[in-house]
């Protein structure tokens, strides 16, 4: 449906009333603007956005700059300029978004650096790890069991073992070093 001269005058009258605070006229005006925006947006490529999304953006934009309408000038060119501007902005956003998307056949599981890809060599021998933990001094073994195997927090591990948080940190650090040495032999 095209908006003719009569429609133009009605819309301009509604806008004049809206500018002086007539809420009923403003609601009626917004209801007339929305289909115009949707109709214009349907003719354009909008990517993942719908004409309804653009129309809502237009409604918010019209609301924020409604004081720029000059009652001495035509209303439709005013609103169409805003609709056009918001559509172009929507297209720009869509293009920017698509530029940031990288299509890959197989998504990488880790970063490309070697030290992040240690899983490639497999989880190792669990029995060897169990033996290495058993060979640790009692304090270090307890720290490893509580913090790494049971995954308790430092506070919880300190309460369970009777060791201080500082002592637990030292014990687990030394235990990790000992395990690394034992497993790399």
């Amino acid at each position: 449906m095209m908006v003719g001269d009569q429609g133009e005058e009605e819309l301009a009258a509604l806008m004049r009333a809206a500018q002086v605070g007539d809420k009923v006229a403003y609601l009626a005006l917004l209801k007339r603007i929305e289909p115009i925006a949707i109709r214009m947006a349907r003719r354009r490529w909008l990517g993942s956005q719908t004409p309804e999304d653009v129309a809502q953006d237009v409604l918010l934009s019209v609301h924020s700059v409604r004081h720029t309408y000059d009652p001495g000038r035509a209303f439709l060119p005013w609103v169409r300029t805003i609709i056009h501007n918001r559509m172009v902005d929507a297209q720009r956003r869509e293009i920017r978004r698509s530029e940031n998307i990288v299509f890959v056949e197989e998504p990488p599981e880790t970063f490309s650096k070697d030290h992040t890809n240690w899983l490639d060599v497999g989880p190792g021998d669990p029995e060897e790890l169990t033996r290495a933990i058993a060979d640790l001094p009692p304090g270090q073994r307890q720290a490893i069991e509580l913090l790494k195997l049971k995954e308790l927090s430092l506070k919880e591990a300190a309460a369970a073992s009777g060791m201080s948080v500082g002592a637990l940190k030292v014990a687990v650090h030394r235990a990790m070093n000992s395990l690394r040495t034992a497993l790399s032999k």
């Binding site: 605070g21 809420k23 004081h67 720029t68 439709l76």
Partner: protein, 220 residues
Amino acid sequence: MDSAELMRALADEAQPVRRLRSPFARMAIWFLISIFWVALVVLFKGVRPDLTAKLVDARWMLEVLAALATSLMAATAAFCTVVPGRPKWEHAMPLLPASVWLGVLAVGCYQAWRQSGDLVAQITPDWACFPGIVMTGIGPAIVMVAMLRRGAPLSPRLSIALGALAAAALAEVGLRLFHQQDASIMVLVWQGGTVCLLSAVAGLSGRSFLRWKLKSPIGI
């Protein structure tokens, strides 16, 4: 987000608005505020001693008036760009006075070339122009940005570039009142160059100054 709900919420919070004045009226307001700043800078720097002689020099007067007209037309055009639905030709309003301004300088350069034969040799460093224009133009530029932000940010780069041209051209008028440099090639390179550079740089950063301020009343 439901459009019907959005429209109801927008209508509910709608208060009477203060309409934007016409671009010409806004240009007049901007000019009156800006000229105060420019006058202050000129007084602070001290008017050039040969100003009375310059005021009866037709070429000098034409050049300064063309710069002033460029400033006023650029300001009007800038204010037109933030009003939706206005004709596009308004954006080109400063072209005519700017052509006259550049034309007067070009004629001066041509005459200097006819006399000396080597125009490039006349170009010497004149570093006072850049800070002079920046200092004189900063006040008008701030007022311009504040006024442009009241409008619709339809083409932020163009609006800010035109606004910067208005401020820089007005600053150039002020500079001509306290800076004794009348060789056309020097005015063209240093003062014209500064005006163009500032307008271009400001234009590129237009989106930082002007953007849509959308606030949904239903929190979306």
